[in-house]
Amino acid sequence: MTMDAVGTFRQRPEKLALLLKNKQGMIGFVLVVAFFLSALLAPFLATHDPAQLDIPARLTGPGADHWLGADQLGRDTYSRVLYGGRVALKVAAIGVTLSLVIGLTLGMVAGYGPRWLDNALLLLFDTIRSFPTIVLALAAVSLLGPSLNLILSIVIITSIPSYARLARTSTLALKNTEFIMAERSLGAGTFRILFRHVMPNVIGPLLILAAMDVPVVVTIEAGLSFLGLGVLPPTASWGTILNEGYLVIRTSPWPVVAGGIPLVLTTLGFTLLGEALRDIFDPKLRGIR
């Protein structure tokens, strides 16, 4: 397995070439890059303050001043879409990264640790997984009120078991391999074994899972914001843009179009990229989700 990992490392240029040859992967890569750039550069790309009200311009269509029209309060839809991308990026980046790190750690501990700890953690993972994310979010928001941090917490908590279970399975397979036993007999500590030798061998599939998880997380945030349970006014989010637009769709379809297209493209981009990475790095993992 160590050899595989080293081999994978050495083959990276080849893998990159494979990605570039993969049409779907390339489309996904371009969409993902566009998503990152538009979100990161929103303050420079936006033409208006996304919270700036201009009531006389309410529900105007696309034009020179408002490229994608204006919403009910005359706010510039184009600028709000760009800033909405920052919310999606924040939730995706923080949510997925923390889920990955915590899930990886707990999964390795479960797989490498004593049986009782493994059982206890498995019970915990299964308990969390038994709660549908949206239902858990609705309950939490009812109790604590809507906020972006709450959404993040829900996303992290409900995503951890997927990463942890995958990491645990890989760790169990590695636990009794010769190179790990050799490390142990040479006196290496558990921490060193897990993070120096086990982690590099289990993280690959988790990274692919993370890429596939980004669109899920983005749609959870947009969904909750659509229901009025996510970000608070006046923060722009694709979900709130869709919600506000949906109610005036027959007066002005532009907010819905403008809020919907980036959501579709971003989820599509991450899905295509994730699938391409999975096919390239580990074809055996096809169909894990």
């Binding site: 009531i55 009910q72 309060l73 608070l232 006014p233 006046p234 919600n243 506000e244 949906y246 109610l247």
Partner: protein
């Protein structure tokens, strides 16, 4: 011979069925109105039929007026909303300012074997209201003198001008069966122990209320055999359902009203049920952040009412200058403050409150959120940072009530909307001293206000009542705890061949609906 259905055949058949449905080949599929069946919309689930302990308004009153008796209903005389005798009575006569004689129709039976509707039920129901959550409607009620099984006199302990319009004709004038109510311990919610009216109801929580003719009803028969009230919480979904023919009548949002005024759907009519809603931005005068009158005055001057009407209500709502709604005695034409951000900033600086952080709570619906967003922007201009907290109906309606937890202590500012009956007395009852911690969430009181409130109850001269209620609104405004926002019209769209009747407070009077 066997016949197989290929995928192509299936698709052809499905396409034909869809086209036929859309083109009206099967008219029954296209419109909700068939026979004497009416399909209307409730904008929320109903939660109680008990007039003493319910939230009131739509849809509770809509169901109550179909299934429960009352002495009078809302009607119109000379274009003005007023009370009319209900189908449950032979007569109702206000003999003088403190005596109301009535005679019930004979033979009106309660369901579930609880016997006939009698004067004793009327006495029981009104006496019960004096200790209920709606006791303020019965502040002038003294007793019911029972003449015989069907006749009686309501005796008031003082003249009470709004008694007929805001008490007896409203939802709190509903009559219950003494025996039935006592048999369930004196209170109930959605399962009335006995009903008596032209319809009986069946409720599927969160889905619909089905009203069908009451076979035991011996009074005048309503036009429709059955009424299906679908619970559709989203205004725009309801408008779409109306356009698709799934609903015969629905209340619509201001956004839809603006659209339908320009281009109404075919075979439809718009009816304004009333504009007896009054919405304001409330402030908790006891909260440490808002104790300083200058801060509250600053907020009054900072909020741009015109932008709220245009931005959140598409210009369809009327500007409010108090709690008295358009068309009622005491309605004001202007407020004692105006939109003046410069003055607001000065007041904030004077009070040393720059950078103040406030939480604005509001119901989680589109128009309120938009209004809250505008207020948030307005207050940001004067150095107040506002966090908008949208809430569902449950926690929202409990947040200022001391009996429902401790949220009232943290309450800072909020957007509130109440509805009233067609008398100016009604809105003021929620702001008297006794209502602090119940519905007076602004938590202030004034001796002059209390005195005027009593005077308004007894005064019958319209000009004098106008002076009293105008002054009361000035007192409210001087507390700085109110920024008047809008009077939203209650607008319904319905099929043009349906004669729809509404209470001035915006509920549907379904037994009076008919098709022309």
């Amino acid at each position: 011979m066997t016949q197989t259905i290929s995928r192509r055949h299936f698709m052809q058949a499905a396409a034909f069925a869809g086209t036929a449905g859309l083109s009206g080949v099967f008219p029954g599929m296209s419109f909700a109105q068939d026979g004497r069946k009416l399909t209307v919309r409730f904008n929320r689930d109903f939660d109680s039929l008990d007039p003493g302990f319910y939230v009131g308004g739509h849809p509770n009153n809509d169901v109550n007026w179909c299934c429960m008796p009352s002495l009078v209903h809302y009607g119109f005389r000379d274009g003005q909303a007023t009370w009319i005798p209900s189908p449950f009575v032979e007569s109702v006569v206000a003999r003088d300012s403190t005596h109301i004689d009535f005679r019930l129709k004979q033979g009106l039976m309660w369901s579930n074997g609880f016997g006939e509707l009698t004067t004793d039920d009327v006495a029981f129901s009104y006496e019960r209201m004096t200790t209920s959550e709606w006791k303020s409607d019965y502040v002038a009620f003294d007793r019911v003198d029972i003449m015989d099984r069907y006749s009686g006199t309501i005796v008031l302990n003082q003249p009470f001008a709004p008694f007929m319009n805001t008490t007896l004709a409203s939802g709190t004038g509903i009559i219950l069966s003494r025996k039935a109510t006592e048999s369930v311990g004196g209170k109930f919610t959605t399962e009335a122990p006995a009903t008596c009216g032209p319809y009986v109801y069946a409720w599927t929580q969160g889905q619909h209320v089905k009203l069908t003719r009451n076979p035991e009803w011996t009074g005048d028969a309503p036009y429709f055999d059955s009424i299906d009230a679908l619970i559709v919480t989203e205004d725009d979904s309801a408008a779409l359902a109306f356009e698709a023919g799934e609903l015969d009548c629905t209340q619509i949002s201001s956004e839809a009203l603006a659209r339908y005024k320009e281009k109404p759907p075919a075979d439809s009519a718009l009816t304004v049920a009333g504009a007896l809603q009054y919405m304001w931005l409330g402030m908790n005068t006891e909260h440490p952040k808002l104790k300083d009158l200058r801060v509250r005055r600053a907020i009054q001057s900072a909020v741009d009412q015109a932008s709220i009407i245009q931005g959140a209500y598409a210009g369809t709502a009327e500007a409010s200058y108090g709690v008295v709604s358009p068309g009622l005695v005491g309605k004001r034409d202007s407020a004692g403050y105006s939109h003046d951000p410069g003055m607001a900033r000065s007041l904030i600086e004077e009070a040393g409150a720059s950078g103040l952080e406030l939480t604005l709570r509001t119901l989680n619906n589109q128009e309120r959120i938009l209004a809250a967003t505008i207020i948030q922007a307005n207050l940001a201009e004067i150095g107040i940072n506002v966090t908008v907290m949208p809430l569902d109906a449950g926690p929202f309606w409990e947040m200022g009530q001391e009996s429902k937890g401790d949220t009232w202590k943290d309450l800072e500012i909020w957007i509130m909307r109440f509805g009233s009956g067609p008398d100016p007395y009604e809105p003021f009852q929620w702001f008297i001293r006794d209502q602090v911690g119940i519905w007076n969430w602004e938590r202030w009181s004034s001796d002059e206000f209390e005195e005027l409130f009593k005077m308004g109850i007894e005064e019958v001269d319209s000009n004098e009542r106008a002076k009293i209620y105008t002054r009361m609104q000035e007192i409210m405004e001087e507390t700085g705890a109110y920024v008047w926002l809008t009077h939203e019209p209650e607008v319904f769209i319905h099929r043009s061949d349906i004669s729809a009747k509404f209470a001035p407070s915006g509920e549907m009077q379904l037994p009076y609906f008919s098709r022309t």
